[in-house]
Amino acid sequence: MTAELLLQTLASGVLIGLIYALVAIGLTMIFGVMDIVNFAHGEFLMLGMYSSFWLFALFALDPLVTLPLTVLMLFAFGVLLYKLVIRRIIDAPPLSQIFTTFGLMLLFRGLAQFFWKPDYRTIENSVVSGSVHLANFQLGRPQVVAGIGAIVVTTAVWFFLHRTKLGSALEATASDKEAARLMGIDSHKMFGLAWGIGAACAGAAGGLLSTFFPIFPEVGANFILIAFVVVNLGGFGSVAGAFLAGILVGVIEVMGGLLIGPQYKMAIVLALFLAVLMFRPQGLMGKAQ
């Protein structure tokens, strides 16, 4: 176990962590603004991956090129989903909301299999295939690009929330729906927006992942537990928290797997997660309870 191996693993952990962060950011926004556990979030990721895939398969366009289109399509999908379904369960009991998003999760997976078959798809020879050599390191180029992409999107979201009027309106709704409404902010528009951005972030993650991860209807299942852990760890509603927690989880998973055993890598992440919650029940950057 050389220092070089450790450092390289650490770097890989950060890179996958950035992807986790991107998925979680969408999820945490939905939590923060409307307090809904979105079990179907992994399916936004899956749809983002399929979007990249079909654009590649049908028009020979590289995923990086089609990423903005994927993001837009997922945004629209998120808003549509809000209007058709989520809007009706805003005031429902939390268990009911869980039930609904869980049903949506199964529904999207089922529809994906129905329309696109269960075969595993991949995008071969994307512009970003191959490796990146830095000193003694060798990292996958798709992962590096995905990591950079995640940083870019996260920064964009953060700027949106803190530097734009619309973003402040979103924050206001999250803090106090009634007060925001009294100030003339339409809650439903904000919820729709949150849902759209949430889906778009997951879709972006999907587009970036599609350059190196296989695409299949159930792929959301691989990421959803981690996404939940990251959101909780970072603190519900905190974008910065989700970003930090994502990287942390990625590093812990990979390093833990290397040092203790890959079969335990998730157990290590979960145990540390529970430990943090012991001392900080609101997560790293969540609001104090």
Partner: protein, 420 residues
Amino acid sequence: MNITWKFKLVAAGAAIMVMSGAQAQQEIKIGVIYPLTGPLASSGAEMRDALEFAADIVNNGLKGVPELPFSGGGGLTGLKGAKIKLVFADHQGNPQVGATEAERLISQEHVVALMGSYNSNVTQTASQVAERAKIPFLNAESSSPTLTQRSFKYFFRTTPHDELFVKNAVEFLKDVEQAKHIKIGSVATLAENTLFGNEAAKLQLKYATAAGYNVVKQVSYPAKTTQLTSEVQTLKAANPTVLLQSSYSEAILSMKTYKELGYLPDMLVANDAGFADTEFVKTLGKDADYVVSREVWALDIGDKKPIIKKVDDLFKARYKIDFTGNSARSFTGLMVLADAINRAGSTDPEAIRKALVATNLPASALIMPWKGVKFDETGQNTLGAGILVQIRDGKYSTVWPFDLASRDVAWPMPKWDARK
């Protein structure tokens, strides 16, 4: 309880029809339980195609392949030309669902026999139901050795199991050492942490150690993983000469990770599954080359055994893909079952069971590289055999046993930067 009454009527009607045998064109139902949805659904789809193809041959014959049973046409001649009908059920990768579907097929569809289920843990429970109901269960693809260690009377398995496959892999290593005058010191295993991978890894440890190899590391990973970095880095640190890998869909992800992290052992000997899937070569292209995998079937054996090529061509013409080890076994399984039903000359499950016990199909009647099909007292086919293939230029070439090989095994695998 209206539904119950309707079903009872239908069931009664069907039973009367079956029992009277009044029509010569009788339909004999065989229940088929496979993963038609879920993570292994693409394998399930291939096997389904093969089964339908086999059923069609049993019912309507196949021109130009006289050695194949039923090729003359006319259905099941031992039952006055009755036709078989496959009733498909999806177990979704869930053992309890598999069992429930078995119940349904037996009591609602009145199948005379069951086939299934690919996933060994589902085969466990589904065949359990069949055993309790005294209905024959033919298993064509599950490799867990424990399936034939249950003293079941109604369970029959045509495929060899993992004990044989792992033995093959180790024999292969020994043969290569001799042929190439090299020494393989260390071995490591990488396995998916499920029934399949777990059992394979345990067997690999047992047989490799017994053969004198040093098993330096056994790495296992959770099935639904998002990345294999820790696993590959661990292997890099352990640096074995040969890596024995058991993976389903992560086969592709693992190869990509090997390339991205610049890792490759001298040889990767894979345990079929994900490495034999059509997606594997399609996705990886040249990066899949030189991987060796244990297999049960390869197209190039058709050069030595023409029946394989003939049947594959006909299959490909209809379904646009070649057989794989999985689908070839499913095809063969149904052939064996139909042959037994035919010899039984009856739809009575007990008679079919006896006929299965008496099965003795010669190698010439099969599209597998086996010595034949003959079941021992545990229900295991003792004449099965495994082969090893190596991927060269996107094709699976048989490299072991040496007398069946179509080309010499290339050893070691060229490192990533030495390729192209």
